[in-house]
């Protein structure tokens, strides 16, 4: 089994807010991230797939194909967008780095696994070089 990772970057705006809470409660829990005018990040997405190399091509998956899948399923929806205001993914979920990793997984898994080759193993999202979250499909 080989684990193959493709990296992509996108830039997006967001804020953290829970409608069920008072503004004071949002500010206490989310700090500066609760500023309703939003702020943004240069995100780095790392998509790891697992599989055995094809006996003919030697590929687990064609990296160009994986690049295109990531662009089509994730970047086209999120790059240079406001995650709270312009995406269905975060209509009912706070666009934290954890939830971005989970949403990216949900977007990528069907497209990657429909191809019949590798399985999606891990999605890691860097919000900054020092902050990241990861989802491995666990319940």
């Amino acid at each position: 089994m080989i684990f193959l990772t493709r990296r992509a970057t996108f830039s997006a705006a967001h804020y953290y807010w829970n409608d069920a809470w008072t503004p004071e409660e949002n500010a206490r829990v989310f700090g500066r991230c609760a500023n309703r005018n939003g702020h943004g990040h240069n995100y780095t997405l790392e998509v790891t797939v697992a599989g055995d190399p094809d006996p003919v091509t030697g590929f687990v998956v064609d990296l160009k194909w994986l690049k295109d899948v990531i662009e089509r399923e994730v970047l086209d929806a999120w790059d240079h967008r406001h995650l709270n205001l312009e995406t269905e993914d975060f209509r009912h979920a706070v666009p934290t780095t954890e939830n971005i990793a989970i949403a990216a997984w949900s977007r990528l898994k069907p497209a990657i696994e429909a191809a019949g080759g590798a399985s999606l193993n891990r999605v890691r999202v860097y919000e900054t070089p020092e902050i990241f979250a990861e989802f491995r499909g666990e319940a």
């Binding site: 953290y16 829970n18 829990v29 989310f30 979920a93 954890e98 939830n99 989970i102 990861e134």
Partner: protein, 135 residues
């Protein structure tokens, strides 16, 4: 759903690799330049990985503020700009980055809520790093 949250920190510290059980000659042979009696230092990067169910109300596995507080109080305040050899933890063991990584893990395990710490990675330089997962 379980997700993982990672946060990187840097700290600068000095150390000297020298094992009391070995002769001076053996120490020089084993540790080379790292055995310099005056010590040397590194800019360490400490990467902390916690994991847990993502809470619906916050969208978080753990609030970054709480991770920061634990890491500052138990790791950075203690080791940043310090000589690792003089810390009581390294009175009886060599402050290799392997041992430092384990020490950071054990200290953070105590400082963080039970069961959330998944892994500690300590990067000694850009070209070498060590990971410990508690086993």
């Amino acid at each position: 759903m379980k997700a993982y949250f990672g946060r990187r920190y840097t700290l600068s510290a000095s150390h000297r690799l020298h094992a009391a059980a070995l002769s001076d000659e053996q120490n020089r042979a084993v540790y080379g330049k790292c055995n310099n009696p005056h010590g040397h230092g590194h800019n360490y990067a400490v990467e902390v990985l916690v994991g847990g169910p993502v809470m619906a109300e916050t969208g978080m596995a753990m609030n970054l503020v709480d991770v920061d507080r634990a890491v500052h109080a138990s790791i950075l305040d203690r080791f940043d700009h310090a000589n690792l050899n003089l810390d009581p933890l390294f009175a009886a063991q060599v402050p290799t980055t392997e041992n430092f990584c384990k020490a950071v893990y054990e200290l953070l395990k105590e400082a963080l809520p039970a069961g959330v710490l998944e892994q500690v990675r300590v990067e000694e330089t850009e070209n070498n790093f060590f990971e410990y997962r508690g086993v």
